[in-house]
């Protein structure tokens, strides 16, 4: 961490938002609690020149792990030429957290994708619908307990049996 601006931002995250920083392969990641992430992002944007939130994504560590999810935010400062990653641990199978749309407008679709793919609910999101999967899809595909899936081959002897349990769009 040789960059001063980055050092300041990380120190701020540690002092005011209880962040735990670690560096891996030259990239700094800070672990921040779910209830503090929106304020932390606001501070990064207004106080440390992180103008762009490039990405939000999540990692699922499986239904038995605790915390089950990590939500990963990528911040980019185009004036200081630095990047910072914030990670938010989330527990439970139906986690909720606050939306980022009030701070960064482009969080809208990124959070919709997280809801669609991981089933993470964002409180206060203006438009939390599925985005990539069909609107009546069941389950959240990028969770680790969601099977990769395949289509069963129908033969004449088991045609009806498989036909009955085939997934269909709701009428």
């Amino acid at each position: 961490m040789e960059n001063d601006a980055l050092k300041q931002a990380v120190q701020d995250m540690e002092a005011h938002f209880g962040g735990q920083a670690n560096e891996f392969r030259g990239q700094v990641q800070v672990l921040v609690a779910p209830d503090k992430i929106v304020a932390a992002a606001q501070t990064l944007r207004d106080g440390h020149n992180f103008e762009i939130m490039a990405d939000i994504t999540a990692v699922d560590y499986g239904p038995d792990a605790s915390p089950r999810f990590h939500v990963v935010y990528q911040f980019n400062s185009i004036s200081e030429h630095i990047r910072l990653t914030l990670r938010v641990p989330l527990d439970g199978n139906e986690p909720t957290m606050d939306t980022m749309t009030g701070v960064f407008l482009n969080a809208n679709w990124l959070e919709r994708e997280l809801w669609d793919m991981f089933g993470i609910r964002f409180e206060g999101h203006p438009d939390l619908r599925r985005i990539l999967m069909p609107y009546d899809w069941e389950g959240h595909p990028l969770r680790k307990d969601y099977p990769l899936g395949y289509e069963e081959v129908q033969f004449t002897f088991n045609y009806d049996e498989i036909d009955q349990r085939k997934p269909r769009p709701k009428e």
């Binding site: 392969r25 762009i52 699922d60 030429h81 990769l148």
Partner: protein, 411 residues
């Protein structure tokens, strides 16, 4: 009857996105796409129209969703790379590069100099090829038919160079973790030199057709304006952001593959309209030619991929001589290689903007989680804000100007 009910539910779901007048029948709801020539793929736009003016534009994506991220989690690192070509099919080399940079960063692999230079040449050739498709389709959307034909003529030449090296025109998988798949053939250098000799003249031809063409200018100037602040808040990157006065290019500020050794400019513009984006991309093509020119002149001899046999498979010729090579070959192509535990985010400047790969490894031979931060995704989201208040005919110009690829968006 069932059909009618379904339409009502859909509208109900979108109630918060359209204005009050839509329910009183004062404005018209119109579907554009998912099969429409000017949406550049399977993109559906739900438009709320007041006469010919767009009140609200609600993009609907996901028609091309193929679960690439989920699929990559189930494949070894070597096999997962094949899926990266299918993301942004106009920037296949760039996707390969982004993926390889992430894997190399996690595994701490060194890449030899020759491979670095060839990577830069291909990344820039791919940028020109992608911009040519953008220019052709943008002009076609605005009814300038002939530009499209000229652009595709030159693009075909680039695809020929790719086929010469990788055996494939588009789905190349040529850049591999640790270097390249094969060394470039002897004809490669001549072909590239021939290309950079005639390309600047061809770019001038496109400019002659469009840049001062009053019909073209009428359609694009002042359309789809985006200020610097808006571009930042809406997550615009790449030339879409540079046209709004954001002087930011990942090749300059966070160089990868040795981009710091090349001399090139980053074109920016302050107008932020469709015309500014057009000017930026045209200039970017010239700069790419300049980079290729420098790269081909410095192309060093030497190995084309890393010698680290724990990650890079041995060349075919070694298999008949060395037992160790056979073991490595077998191991690498069956169970793959283990990558150290950790998480990295690596970015490259794709023709469309910031292409990021968040790669997390649990120490095993398969990516635990890989997320593609694709520029098209944020640029389609931006359509819903940028299109407001414009005519439907101008929307066509705006969609073309943000340069979206639906494979990139839906993943």
């Amino acid at each position: 009857m069932a059909m009618l009910e379904r339409v009502e539910t859909t509208l109900d779901e979108l109630k918060h996105l359209v204005s009050e007048q839509a329910f009183e029948g004062d404005t018209l709801l119109l579907n554009m796409g998912p099969q429409h020539p000017s949406t550049h793929g399977v993109l559906r736009l739900l438009l709320e129209l007041d006469g010919e003016i767009i009140v609200n534009c609600i993009p609907d994506i996901g028609f091309l969703h193929t679960g690439i991220e989920k699929n990559m989690e189930a494949k070894t690192y070597a096999k997962a790379e094949v899926m990266t070509d299918r993301l942004d099919y106009l920037n296949t080399m760039g996707n390969n590069l982004a993926y390889c940079l992430a894997v190399e960063k996690l595994a701490e692999l060194d890449v030899p100099e020759r491979a670095q230079v060839v990577r830069v040449i291909f990344a820039e050739l791919q940028r020109i090829a992608s911009h040519l498709v953008w220019l052709g389709t943008q002009a076609l959307d605005l009814a300038a038919m002939s530009v499209f034909l000229y652009c595709f003529r030159e693009r075909e030449y680039i695809l020929d160079i790719m086929e010469m090296c990788s055996g494939q025109r588009m789905m190349t998988t040529y850049i591999r973790p640790g270097g390249l798949w094969r060394d470039v053939p002897v004809e490669f250098e001549d072909a590239v030199r021939k290309f950079i000799a005639y390309m600047p003249g061809r770019i001038q031809q496109y400019e002659d057709l469009l840049t001062k063409n009053p019909i073209f200018i009428d359609r694009v100037r002042g359309i789809g304006k985006m200020t610097r602040e808006q571009a930042l808040a809406w997550g615009a990157t790449g030339s879409t952001a540079r046209a709004s006065g954001i002087d930011y290019d990942i090749r300059k500020v966070q160089p990868y593959s040795g981009y710091e050794q090349y001399d090139f400019d980053v074109p920016t513009h302050t107008d932020g309209d469709v015309y500014a984006r057009y000017l930026c991309r045209i200039e970017e093509m010239r700069q790419s030619v300049k980079i290729i020119d420098q790269a081909i002149n410095r192309l060093p001899m030497g190995p084309f991929c890393s010698n680290n046999r724990k990650f890079v498979p041995p060349p075919r010729s070694e298999l008949s001589r060395s037992m160790e090579a056979v073991i490595h070959h077998f191991k690498l192509w069956t169970e793959g290689y283990d990558v150290p535990k950790g998480s990295v985010y690596s970015v490259v400047e794709s023709p469309r903007g910031e292409l990021g790969v968040m790669l997390e490894s649990d120490g095993g031979p398969k990516p635990y989680r890989i997320k593609w931060r694709t520029p098209s995704f944020s640029h389609i989201q931006l359509l819903s804000w940028i299109a407001k208040g414009h005519y439907v005919a101008d929307l066509v110009a705006i969609i073309g100007s943000v340069d979206i690829v639906l494979g990139d968006t839906d993943r």
